[in-house]
Symmetry: D2
Subunit: 435 residues, 4 copies
């Protein structure tokens, strides 16, 4: 976890305090079920909630015990016993450490997912707002980094909206993947614990029972989870890259927000760097990379080995904290993005009117000019624009071979930007739903 | 594509012939819609189907034209025109190459997914059959590669069933991701083509219209697709690794099928190598690795660049062909797996009865022996088993301190394997549904 | 292997014909050594070379035998015996298949490396030539995609030269890694074959004996090899990305070569897409991705398992063929790159003179103006350039507070581009050596 | 950084304190050179060393300034000025932040490399000691996890030694890659700073001047560095996997050290889990995964973007700290590894004498028995061993068809383990050098 790329709420999910609190709840809910089944006294279960529920666990103390016992769950239970007293002997009966560890890890991932879903909602809201704001802001569409045909800046943002909406759906599915609970004992056979305990704990904690576990919860679930985060990160990179491109000195159609008084911009007003989106590009690389060790974690030996554990100590917090930070940062960027429609217009007309050459070509052929001739006509006028900065329409109107085929009105009509934007409403309806 | 890791049906999806056939269908369906909208003559659309529908496209010829024009779609259209005649001028109106290429790629991925889903169904059927066959075949569960508690071989297979059932769900979702169609023209604005054409083509080809495209279909969809294949591959690796472990000389609880007359096994009967599952381990590495370039493909520049294309020429065929082969191979391995229950029993009892030491320990404490004393009693008898190969139950029965706390009947009951398997039915019900 | 991204010489290294020829040479050289040691008759070794050396192996026939025996090396030896006759019984004595397979794989990688080194040499030559050609072509340096300070286009290319020169050194080291030979028999103990055979074969084939092998040559060597190719691919991506940026419509300081008559450029002269460098970007992603499975291949079980084999069937050819193609393509791009110094100059002066604002600021403070005042002075003139397109020097010369501190000569000197290029020779000397 | 996988010396390299100390040294050395060149007063350089050299930088204070200025280097320089006084205005003249940041990062990586090299030396020493200890400890070699031919445990360790010796060489080369210094100013042209300053700082800090930089030090160097760490991690995984296999209950030829009194082992003496090597397997996955974002960092835009920075904040510390921990842990495992020669012997003879079947087969054919007959003879006796637990030699001696071809002495000779170990000295000489 890199503090500068971390937000407190997500960080707190991964704190030792949170972890021990979740461990307690798993154990206490299990005790309720065990009491209900008559395995342990009902009073004991009650006592455990009463004395442990309000306890403030001492992380230092637990660490100290762990250094001795070399076992984290035992260390916690020993500390918990210091609060609960003699009834603590009824805690953890028939369970294994993995029951607690794996269920806890999944709860942390579920909570992380909920924050990430909220992040995505905020991002979607920002994208939607700015998309409608710029629904009709015409800008040049680019393929291969080269001017192609006009589109609108709102369509660009609608595209991003649709993409992150897909990301949201993916995350909902990924959250489902890891929202499971295993209280199945050693090697997952329930030999020492009734499956109804698992069902109770799962329900109490908003999880589903893992249908079949092997002491550990199968790691294909987590592989799918982290792979999904990697895909979301890749979408962040895409949008960040778009903004970085738009902010290039020569393009400058949009900029990350710069407060008027922000240092450094005064003497070199062009020197406003897209540092936030560059940063997002790097963060995306990190989150994406975590998919590989997560997939390598799947092939545990037999009923379990512990090789996945160290990996998860890194990627559990790092992937979720980084992605949370990145989504929030991206939301801020979109929210406050400075958009320059005049510059978009200027860039669009960099080669005066040339962007309409395809339509003119088509019109000529439709007017009966042979394909070869039409090409030649368009070309000779296009080159004047390209090489001498002439205005394409003016040149065409002055070319008798052109005007012989197309009237001035016809020609002018081919230079109508509205031609390119006539279906923007359709696209918006598809993406955002009918108004 | 490595021929030895390829099956013909999947390979044929990626053939040039199939690709050109799909291109034709996209173009012809688009013509139907254009005709319906009055953009082109209805007769032309009919002619195109009639003359192109039965045509056998000449791949060599198309390649030859491409070498000249350096454009694959133009080369195809030129060749198509040789069949269709003058009406061919109505084909591809208002469309871009990407409309054809991207929609075709998605159709190929959909078809590939359907084969993969069938592969998974076959694998699930094999796993289910063998799981029920060995529902009660007791075997030792292992954590860390070390004997832990008993389970059944059927439970191992039920776990694999549940895992591949999740993989199936994931693949269904991944298939949805890429089952889209884009016929939206340059930079995706529909400037030159009515959105209803896209709707028609999508419906005709079993796809959904891409809500908003940018000349290309957004590549986050494909990133998710290939990441999902990577997760499935990881599950293949897990099961393959399990079998490789079971076939080790010292374990030998199961073996890949070896035909009685198969060469090489005669002089060294122990030398039957798990080469199929080792091969699957390697194939899994490959399929998994494709997730990374697929994610890197997401961040295309602006409305599109072509950097994704070369990546997809590799991973489109390679990921699906390899995974198809791997799933089929794994199904064969499971289907014919030689299982050795006697050896499972022998391994389980490698340390005679020691596997029950935990239960004895628990019983002693429940019988009122202090935890420390119980430990000492179990330990001193356990060490005789461990060091001298004694029988644990015999030793316990001969230990007066033990029998003072537990009767012979009580002790014998702790050695009942049924204790560990009593919830196998529950697990099977959860995984396969109630009988 | 994707035919369109493959060149024949590299492809031929990976052909079945080449493989069998190498197998033959390994076996024949081993026979020489065995004959020298008196293990087999000298006449036999001679016969093997005579009859096998000129043989044209029939790949179909070998495949046919393999389908029967399910063993590739046995199939080959059977076919070889058809040429050699009775003396063939002396071939392969004391060897294992891995001795042949692994040594052959390394020979193929060595040959591939030699081609790649030649590719790098060609690329370096092109970079050097173009670097000197544009040593003094001033262009704007950009940080964050934003104009920073001037540099020269030659320096950009010198940087690329230095980078690929490092890549060359890395490849030389990587080639060393895999230039080893193992003829050590089952589990690598030389039980059935004298270590001197390995030494002889290694020397004959230009390899070093593997100091200690375990039936297989350790795969950390190959991991390092493919990781190195991944790094080289990343450098290709960097340079390709630079060119893609320079070719953007708004930048257009350089372009991939476009033959005058090339189709598609006539009507839309701006629509020249950097498709080669975009393609290189995608190819780089693929080559890079192969590093991961290559690293996963290292952890073979005990003395060997066969999981690496399927991975290598993909990445052996794919990584080398793709990188060979990519390096050659990049060399072509550099060789024929269209460079537009006028446009570089125009871009550099997009904000007339503003690029020199830092120097003016510094000069003011050095002339005794307080930092705050200097800032204010530069800023108020800079904003005129930024907002109204004024000329920075003209504005400064008209600002009495500025001219109070700096003379016109002083000011003009601050606008000298030579200030930024004065150490270009030093850089070139460092990179290319003193003239 | 995960505290439990971190050792203090490596952690301290990445502390804020260390970083600021390095920054100071870079600046102060640059001042020396600037003073020598007459750009700043010599007294100032002296003052800077005197007042800054002994200063204890206040990290909190610097952070506070950074929150204001949003610039880390400026924050540091501001704080430094609080110690140095007016002469602080001579610091950093003509330099950019990247000069400080990149050179510092490389210094940190160099220091990390030195620790890692020491780690490798310790590991090599442990491997060598244990290799010689078990040079003649015969054990079964395994291919595919299946018994193959005998080898010695010392040879296994010699193999690991050779592998980590290669890793050491690779790390030395990787250290060279990143041991460079850039003090070249904005976009690397030395416009504002003399190249001799870079040369001086480089020499003073044990680095080489970067021949050509672009404001940043090219990231192909770092890609190579982190890829190399990934390969080393893969070798750790290989050896860890070997040990995990050896510790399996059914194999148990070696075990991670367990202190006699260590908890948990008493009641279930077989339950000693190879948790350290499992942990190393997971740590290896993490270190390996960092190679991918490091390679993605290479393609920075133009003269630099800042996307690499966030990646390096993760992988700089995480890769080196984790690898340092892993190497030290592995050294401890090897150093104290419990080796069980008796069990090795027992496993080797699991199928009594069958491991020698190949040699018997060969001897029969060499004695003139036809290949088919020899096979049949070996097979029928081998099956008795395989199926009924007979002793292979006894059976062969009782088979008249066998003894007709081979004398008892001949047969017994084929069961000599020395046959397999006769070249162990050769191997050791190759790996460790002649005695």
């Amino acid at each position: 976890m890199i503090p500068r790329y971390a937000r407190p709420q997500m960080v707190s999910i991964w704190s030792q305090e949170t972890k021990f609190r979740i461990w307690f709840e798993i154990e206490a809910h299990a005790c309720d079920a065990l009491a209900e089944l008559g395995v342990i006294p009902k009073d004991a279960a009650k006592t455990i909630w009463e004395k442990g529920g309000g306890a403030t666990f001492d992380v230092e103390r637990i660490d100290e015990i762990e250094r001795e016992t070399k076992h984290d769950v035992i260390a916690f239970l020993t500390h918990l016993a210091e609060f609960v007293g003699p009834d603590s002997r009824f805690i953890h009966q028939g369970m294994t450490s993995s029951d607690v560890l794996d269920t806890c890890f999944n709860i942390q991932l579920v909570r992380a997912s909920d924050l990430l879903l909220a992040d995505l909602d905020a991002l979607l809201a920002a994208l939607k707002r700015r998309a409608f704001e710029h629904k009709d802001t015409v800008t040049i569409g680019r393929s291969h980094g080269i001017h192609a045909e006009p589109t609108t800046f709102g369509v660009k943002l609608a595209l991003a909206y649709a993409e992150f909406d897909r990301c949201r759906n993916r995350l909902v599915a990924a959250r489902e993947e890891i929202a499971t609970c295993a209280i199945s004992g050693a090697v997952g056979t329930f030999a020492n614990i009734d499956p109804r305990v698992e069902e109770h704990v799962a329900a109490a904690l908003g999880l589903k029972p893992e249908p079949v576990s092997t002491q550990v919860i199968p790691r294909d679930r987590h592989a799918m989870y982290f792979a999904t985060l990697g895909v979301i990160a890749s979408s962040i990179e895409r949008l960040a890259t778009e903004i970085r491109h738009l902010q290039r000195t020569e393009v400058l159609e949009a900029e990350e927000y710069f407060s008027p008084g922000q240092k450094g911009s005064s003497a070199m007003p062009h020197k406003r760097n897209p540092v936030l989106t560059e940063n997002l590009t790097g963060l995306a690389r990190m989150v994406r990379s975590f998919a590989i060790p997560a997939m390598e974690n799947v092939a545990l030996w037999h009923e379990r080995d512990i090789s996945h554990s160290s990996v998860e100590r890194y990627i559990g917090p790092d992937a979720t904290i980084t992605l949370d930070f990145a989504l929030a940062r991206l939301t801020g960027v979109i929210d406050k993005l400075l958009v320059y429609p005049e510059r978009m217009d200027k860039n669009l007309n960099q080669f005066k009117g040339l962007v309409h050459s395809q339509r003119v070509l088509l019109a000529l052929t439709q007017a009966g000019v042979s394909r070869e001739d039409a090409y030649r006509l368009v070309q000779r006028n296009a080159m004047k624009v390209w090489e001498h900065g002439a205005d394409f329409l003016t040149e065409l109107l002055a070319d008798k071979d052109v005007t012989a085929a197309l009237s001035e009105a016809d020609l002018r009509e081919k230079f109508d930007l509205g031609y390119h934007t006539k279906h923007v409403d359709t696209i918006f309806n598809r993406v955002f739903g009918a108004a």
